[in-house]
């Protein structure tokens, strides 16, 4: 009896210790999750606080009289007159009408600096398309110069330096009050490619470039990866060669991405003579990079298909091919898709290999095909973040937000697909 009691005592004591250990272990887990969430929150807060102004544009809306005498342009259809015409003059005149106190030539020049670099080309384009508008008055919205934009958006932010003279600041304040200078949603960001001028720069070119590149990556890495995984898992004989291949696939997954860029440069561009900066080459390089991820996750998915299903199919006389195509691959598909989408999301955020194959070039036009020069979102972010103009800082953060949105969509898609296709057995 005493023996039993003391044993119970020992157990009770050890129980206390065990529960303590368990509580401590749980606490560590909660702490780890907290740290992870906090870092994520700080990251998002930082990016959003920096980037939200990137989604706002500053504009000047003016009633411009397209006076032929002021522009030295009699006939808008006569191309000879284009080079000597002054498209900026009517805008400055319209501005000056709003700020009558700026009368001298020097002050007018100061006023002219409110306008974005491409304000005059906006008038030119308008007249090219509609020559009949000459000598009429039109209400036109112009992007402001970066300096005005920074002043309007960040006047009280010490991180930005205001590059307007005090007089200019007064004028801008006045125009703001009149509603001539105004802020609105930055549709330019989603409708244009890159530009030297922050007010005219958008991510559309980069988004399209990214999509085209991803298309190539998906079209190559998904079928090749799954075919390789199915073969290795189901058909390959177990010998030294397959072991060797397996080890090397795992190694490839760990190779730094810039190495793939060098490979792409050496093989696709130098050896095969493919053009630089094009989505096809970018996609090929990223496909090589994504392949090991897809193969490894697909093999894991195939391995997790229960052997009882294979036996069931073999038992009714299915051939190896039928077992694989009718049962193993469909059941492994959710895992394969998840792995592929995660691989694609990784590829979407990849910068280093694309720098080496020339996708870092300054490209204004939105790419219109797999063989036209393009850049991708992460490279665009890299370009803008390293740019000296203040307007690009917020654009870079805005582009990061766009990129993160795409990533979140892709990951959500992966989760949704897995939930949707997952089957119990």
């Amino acid at each position: 009896m005493t023996d039993q009691r003391s044993q119970a005592e020992i157990v009770r004591k050890s129980l206390k210790r065990r529960y303590r250990t368990e509580r401590r272990f749980r606490l560590y887990g909660i702490l780890a999750i907290f740290i992870a969430l906090a870092s994520l929150f700080i990251l998002f807060a930082d990016i959003i606080s920096k980037g939200h102004t990137g989604f706002v544009k500053t504009t000047i809306t003016l009633d411009v009289t397209l006076d032929s005498g002021m522009m030295y342009l009699d006939d808008p259809t006569d191309l000879d007159q284009w080079s000597s015409a002054d498209f900026k003059a009517p805008i400055i005149a319209a501005l000056q009408a709003q700020v009558p106190q700026a009368a001298s030539a020097a002050e007018k020049r100061e006023l002219g600096r409110f306008l974005g670099t491409f304000a005059d080309s906006e008038i030119r384009d308008l007249l090219t398309k509609n020559p009949e508008l000459l000598n009429t008055t039109q209400t036109i919205e112009f992007p402001t110069h970066d300096r005005v934009s920074v002043y309007v958006k960040h006047a009280d932010n010490p991180q930005y330096s205001i590059k307007l003279s005090e007089q200019q600041q007064l004028w801008v304040d006045e125009l703001l009050q009149k509603g001539i200078i105004d802020t609105s949603f930055n549709d330019v960001l989603f409708s244009r490619g890159d530009s030297r001028e922050p007010a005219n720069a958008g991510v559309l070119g980069a988004i399209v470039g990214s999509l085209l590149t991803m298309l190539v990556t998906l079209a190559i890495s998904f079928p090749v990866g799954i075919a390789a995984a199915v073969y290795l898992e189901e058909f390959a004989p177990q010998n030294k060669l397959t072991d060797f291949i397996e080890v090397n696939i795992n190694n490839l997954a760990a190779v730094p991405s810039i190495i793939f860029g060098l490979l792409g440069l050496a093989v696709f561009i130098n050896l095969f003579g493919m053009p630089r900066s094009v989505p096809v080459v970018g996609g090929l390089v990223l496909a090589l990079m994504t392949l090991p991820t897809i193969i490894i996750s697909s093999r894991a998915a195939i391995k997790s298909v229960p052997p009882s299903i294979r036996e069931a199919a073999e038992g009714v006389g299915a051939s190896k091919m039928q077992v694989v195509l009718h049962h193993v691959v469909p059941l492994a598909m959710p895992g394969m898709l998840t792995g592929s989408i995660i691989g694609m999301a990784q590829a979407l955020g990849e910068t280093a290999p694309l720098l080496l194959i020339g996708m870092v070039a300054f490209i204004v036009d939105v790419p219109d095909g797999l063989f036209s020069s393009a850049t991708v979102l992460p490279v665009q972010i890299y370009l803008w973040a390293s740019s000296s103009e203040q307007g690009f800082v917020e654009l870079a953060s805005a582009a990061i937000m766009v990129l993160l949105t795409f990533m979140i969509i892709m990951n959500a898609l992966a989760i949704w697909l897995r939930k949707r296709l997952e089957r119990r057995w």
């Binding site: 036996e311 069931a312 199919a313 038992g315 009714v316 006389g317 299915a318």
Partner: protein, 305 residues
């Protein structure tokens, strides 16, 4: 001890080193533990009873199966008669499942598995290199220990075999095959209103009968059953046993079971396996009423296994 036949006591005495010494009842067990019937030396390839029949479906001679260096089946010869139900019994790890899986080459997918000897189905070698395993499995169907329906609809489960073998040319033919198979498996009444429902949503017993329906949908000649009732409750087990009895009219059935009552209930002949040896084969009644080998006797009286 009093159930022991004189022959086994005599043999035990001959082998024993100290068991012959009379001991008080309380310590008798210990002596028995030392004197395990498993220690009986079995002569390889020597089977007691009647392993051979006149007109066999399967003619199996000197079968040897090894996994790498392990010999799982040691020189077994056996005939399996046409339209008979033969039960394989024996303790765990005795090789009965391995032997069963040789009959439709389910061991093929295990790389290290080697099968030697002569295995014939209707006088054709099963392990002939030219033999098509797909055709063999269409003739020799299998039902597994755990119900393993495909994660598809009930209809698709049954229709899968006929579909891949091209047994039905029209949808109506396929419907007939599915209905007949489900009827034969005693599942039609429960399943006819939910043929499109997922098979994995059925109860364990229903799933196992569905697996039987799936096996008979390709009209096999032989059905191998590897402990088909081990995951089922007694009611579901009774249903499956009834089914085996009905099916025995048209199929040759080989059933591996751990339940001796089940073997006694469903089979015509019983084969007792022990450590890779086929110890005794006989009419089921004979095996359970007057076993000839001491090991069989020990097993069916529950002394081990």
């Amino acid at each position: 001890m009093n159930t022991m036949s004189p022959s086994i006591s005599a043999e035990a005495d001959m082998r024993s080193k100290g068991a012959a010494v009379p001991v008080p009842d309380g310590r008798r067990k210990d002596t028995l533990m030392e004197d395990k019937p498993e220690d009986t030396v079995i002569e390889e390839g020597k089977t007691v009873g009647k392993p051979f029949t006149a007109d066999p479906k399967f003619k199996l001679r000197n079968v040897d199966v090894s996994y790498g260096a392990d010999r799982a089946i040691k020189n077994i010869s056996l005939d399996i008669g046409r339209n008979e139900v033969i039960a394989f019994i024996g303790p765990s790890g005795c090789g009965k499942s391995t032997f069963l899986r040789c009959l439709n080459r389910m061991n093929d997918s295990i790389d290290i598995c080697r099968v030697k000897g002569s295995l014939e189905l209707d006088e054709q070698n099963i392990y002939d290199s030219k033999r098509d395993v797909v055709e063999l499995r269409a003739r020799v169907g299998m039902v597994f220990q755990k119900p393993n329906p495909f994660p598809k609809s009930i209809y698709d489960n049954v229709a899968y075999g006929p579909r891949i073998h091209g047994l039905a040319n029209r949808k109506s033919e396929l419907d007939d095959i599915v209905e007949n198979s489900l009827r034969k498996a005693g599942l039609w009444n429960e399943a006819k209103d939910r043929l499109d429902a997922m098979a994995t949503g059925m109860s364990g017993g229903q799933q196992q009968r569905l697996c039987i329906a799936r096996a008979i949908a390709v009209s096999p000649e032989v059905i191998l059953m590897d402990e088909p009732c081990s995951a089922l409750d007694p009611i579901a087990t009774a249903r499956v046993e009834e089914l085996i009895a009905e099916m025995s009219e048209s199929y040759t059935i080989v059933i591996v079971t751990h339940s001796m009552q089940q073997a006694a209930r469903v089979s015509n002949r019983t084969a007792y396996f022990h450590m890779g040896h086929l110890v005794e084969v006989n009419e089921t009644d004979t095996v359970f009423t007057s076993p000839q080998h001491p090991l069989t006797e020990s097993y069916i009286t529950g002394r081990f296994g």
